[in-house]
Amino acid sequence: MGLELYLDLLSASCRAVYIFARKNNIPFDFQFVDLLKGHHHSKEYIKINPLKKVPSLKDGKFVLSESVAILFYLCRKYSTPSHWYPPDLHTRARVDEFMAWQHTAIQMPMSRILWIKMLIPMITGEEVPDEKVEQMLAEVKNSMQLFEEKFLQDKMFIAGDHISLADVVALVEMMQPMGGNYNVFLSSSKIAEWRMRVELAIGPSLFGEAHDRLMRLAEWDSSTLDPMVKERICELLQKFK
């Protein structure tokens, strides 16, 4: 049994792992865990990852969760080119710094935008109160500003002249609101240029393919939604009221 990656490309963390593995020609079996159908709650998947989250990696008997850990594991096991996770002490620290910061500063707020602008209204038929929406958009704006001023600055990529894991993770997360037609790249030409550079370095066709499911989310028939997932979303809406 070869390497298995349990993924739903709707999730930014899954896209990062998918793009990295494909870009580096790492052979793997794509195990689709359909979040919209609640597959992450299935008995089979809970055996793989009791935390019920994607992505997961399964390498023989070894099971690993957390996209950042999976990316580092793949780098090391498959000896990918060093620019992905540069060996220089300071440069590597810059990548680590972003990988740590992004969990709460980028991933969480970006994912929330998709929920409040698209998924919650679509599924519950109700809008999230304007005040809350404004608050979240302000948080995202603040994060993008910090990203530009501290992490990107005047460099080509986060770590310097070459693309690294940090850029892939950053970009796939910033793409998340696109699923709800919200474009975070409009406010900064520096970030928009960085985005193009990263997409080019990854390869436009791979990048497009990885984001296809997200970009077609608006077409999804929400009546097919797993009831457990729907319940959770309705609970989420209560929190925002």
């Binding site: 009791p50 957390e66 850990a69 580092f72 594991y73 590597r92």
Partner: protein, 242 residues
């Protein structure tokens, strides 16, 4: 210029770095940043870390934020013993897995419990909102359950057979609410046993030294020193905890 670590020992990640540096004999200048006085928001500190958070590191011209990044940097630069960040592929992946997961699963909810139990009452002068506290403790419960029933069922420490960076970070985080009266270990026997093991591995004196500040009850007069700041902090805390 020697290594500088910008720390407030009220902050769990700062304690983790403090313990790690001391334990490994890494020489550094302790640069105190008092969160309670809003020093992390002042221009002098923002020059060191524009993210406005502790811990931060300055090594000559090199500035670094984020506790996980700082721990990894120190372990590499000072070539600390391998068990902290084991070289074996799978063991290292386990440490990485915890260090990634803990940001949202442990640090965020544990901090919220602490803010509700200690910081908000301290600055607002109001008693603890017990309904809110229960709700916040409830958010932490699944993670504690996972650690106690799944992770520690298979091994003595979080990642491998020995203490690692994962245990260090987890320890200081879980001590935060515990130090102010929300004993997170009470309902979880494996977690309690793990705590004792980690304390023994780090060294009880060093652990005590690092936790002296957070274990002390806060002096209510401190909150009144700058009423405007107190009001600002209360407002931020209310927003964060709502």
């Amino acid at each position: 210029m020697p290594l500088e670590l910008f720390l407030d020992l009220y902050s769990p990640p700062c304690r983790a770095i403090y313990i790690f540096a001391k334990k490994n004999g890494i020489p550094f200048e302790f640069r105190p940043v008092e969160l309670g006085r809003g020093e992390h928001l002042k221009p002098e500190f923002l020059k060191v870390n524009p993210l406005g958070k502790v811990p931060a590191l300055r090594d000559g011209d090199f500035l670094l934020a984020e506790s996980v990044a700082i721990l990894l940097y120190l372990s590499r630069k000072y070539q600390t013993a391998p068990y902290w960040y084991p070289p074996d592929l799978q063991a290292r992946a386990r440490v990485d897995e915890y260090l990634a997961w803990q940001h949202t699963a442990i640090q965020l909810p544990a901090t919220n419990v602490y803010l509700c139990k200690s910081l908000l009452p301290h600055f607002s002068g109001q008693p603890v909102d017990t309904v809110r506290l229960d709700r916040l403790l409830g958010k932490l419960k699944p993670a504690l359950q996972h650690l106690d029933q799944e992770v520690l069922a298979a091994k003595p420490f979080l990642a491998t057979e020995q203490v690692s960076l994962a245990d260090l970070m987890a320890f200081t985080e879980l001590m935060q609410p515990t130090a102010v009266g929300c004993d997170l270990f009470r309902d979880w026997p494996r977690l309690a046993a793990w705590r004792a093991r980690v304390e023994a591995a780090l060294g009880p004196e060093l652990v005590q030294d690092a936790h002296k500040l957070v274990l002390q009850p806060r002096d209510p007069r401190d909150a009144q020193q700058d009423p405007r700041l107190a009001q600002e902090l209360v407002h931020r805390l209310q927003e964060r905890l709502s």
